[in-house]
């Protein structure tokens, strides 16, 4: 029995997988399968890869049903739920603004997105998706968390007793032992620590106004500014990943959304050095 740690560059970041308490070669093959799943999720949900489900959607005629992988559908359904619970603060259709600002590349798409389009214009049925207005979807704010969850599920299914999957800072811990997680502030320094057991944490940092904004408030489409780091703890990483954007944009006003998902948050402001805890109800 040993500790096996591996890392690969996927989803635009470094993914680290650690498995403890399993025979080394079994752990290694389980980790291989988990990495393969993450790579597959990347291919399905990439904004710019021409073969991804999102690219196929963006090439399709507006209003036409497009069949997508069950995993893409699951993430889209969850994204719409977070959008609904946050009154549109989390909105996967801010991609058009992200392309205009240069944060995302220009997709292969025959149409120009409707500036009035929002998450409400995405419809799902049992195996497909359709866009009721011309719009572009970016799952960058949620797919990484989903990939972490899928990897953890695969590792648990293969019998890993204790595991941690960390996708560039969005991570989930599973197993009987609680572990310590250190949280960086916007400068990269470690500013806090939290003990986590069978839980996920994700952190997002808002960038200075002059830089290319990574996060946008879905309601007013404005970039989220400042040296603020929001960390969200939730039962799974997809929830934590998506909710960091809501907490960054709304601060204490995100309490109701957090409560709807059983999540809690910590907000750290680099300029004032202040910590706000328990933004959750």
């Amino acid at each position: 029995m040993s500790i096996v740690r591996r890392a690969r560059p996927l989803l635009g970041t470094l993914i680290e997988i650690r498995v403890e308490g399993m025979q080394r070669n079994l752990a290694s093959s389980a980790i291989d399968i988990a990495f393969a799943e993450i790579a597959q999720i990347h291919r399905l949900m990439s904004f710019h890869e021409p073969g991804s489900d999102l690219s196929r959607l963006h090439r399709a005629r507006t209003g036409a049903w497009v069949s997508v992988d069950a995993r893409t559908r699951e993430v889209l359904a969850y994204a719409l739920r977070v959008a609904r619970e946050s009154n549109g603060c989390f909105d996967p259709t801010v991609a058009a603004e992200q392309v205009a600002s240069g944060y995302l590349p220009q997709p292969h798409s025959p149409f120009v997105p409707d500036s009035n389009a929002s998450w409400r214009d995405i419809e799902l049925n049992d195996d497909g998706v359709r866009l009721c207005k011309p719009l572009w979807i970016d799952l960058g704010g949620i797919a990484k968390g989903y990939a972490v969850d899928r990897a953890v599920e695969i590792l648990l299914e293969t019998g890993a007793p204790q595991t941690c999957v960390n996708a560039g800072g969005d991570l989930r811990i599973a197993g009987p032992r609680a572990e310590c997680v250190h949280v960086r502030d916007a400068s990269g320094a470690i500013a806090a620590a939290v003990e986590l057991g069978d839980a996920a944490i994700a952190s997002s940092t808002s960038v200075p106004a002059h830089a290319t904004a990574a996060h946008r408030d879905g309601e007013n489409k404005q970039p989220i500014e400042g040296g603020v780091t929001a960390s969200v703890i939730a039962a799974n990483c997809m929830t934590a990943d998506a909710l960091t954007k809501v907490v960054l944009a709304r601060g204490a006003a995100s309490a109701r959304t957090l409560a709807a998902f059983g999540a809690q948050a910590r907000v750290h402001d680099l300029r004032s050095g202040r910590d706000t805890f328990g933004v959750a109800a």
Binding site: P9, A189, V194
Partner: protein, 174 residues
């Protein structure tokens, strides 16, 4: 789900700690075995292509092996390093005989944020304040949540090795 912040609530901001974080994931030998389990030999080889032709940084010198099973060429194995603004990554790239990627593994990751302060003093500020279980903080840093790391340098490094392979290795007599 269990979660407990190890910082006092409402007692004021804790001093941040700049720490150097390093992790060894695999050795070169482990990565070679994992990528080419059927190989009988790994023969070190050279590529005659100047670094400047590949836009490589000064001092770029990847190590290259041919993976063989007897006389049969199975593929190539590269061990290389990239250095970013705050991190250095040693990584391995394995290509099959046709040049398709078999594996890309990080061997070692090291980071620093300039002013490196040991973690110990940072921990001390919590002793006797809030930590009911100091063991949790005495572990080596394993898990860090925060600003997403960019893999841009690593991606560029892989592109460079693929070019090196296409220009200097693929056509070389095996």
């Amino acid at each position: 789900m269990h979660a407990r912040w190890l910082i006092p609530i409402g007692v004021g901001a804790a001093q941040a700690a700049h720490v150097a974080h390093a992790t060894q994931y695999m050795t070169v030998e482990q990565a070679q075995r994992a990528a080419f389990p059927q190989a009988t030999t790994f023969e070190m080889t050279r590529a005659d292509l100047h670094a400047s032709a590949l836009d490589a940084p000064a001092g770029w010198s990847p190590r290259i092996w041919q993976a063989r099973n007897g006389n049969q060429l199975l593929g190539w194995f590269f061990a290389d390093a990239v250095i970013g603004k705050s991190e250095a990554i040693d990584y391995a790239l394995a290509l099959d005989a046709n040049g398709s990627v078999i594996a890309l593994e990080v061997l070692q990751y090291r980071e620093s944020h300039g002013s490196e302060v040991r973690l110990a003093p940072w921990r001390k500020q919590f002793v006797g304040k809030t930590i009911r279980d100091p063991v949790a903080l005495n572990q080596d840093i394993k898990n860090i949540s925060g600003a997403t790391l960019s893999c841009r340098h690593l991606t560029e490094g892989v592109q460079r090795l693929l070019k090196l392979h296409a220009h200097a290795l693929l056509t070389a007599p095996a």
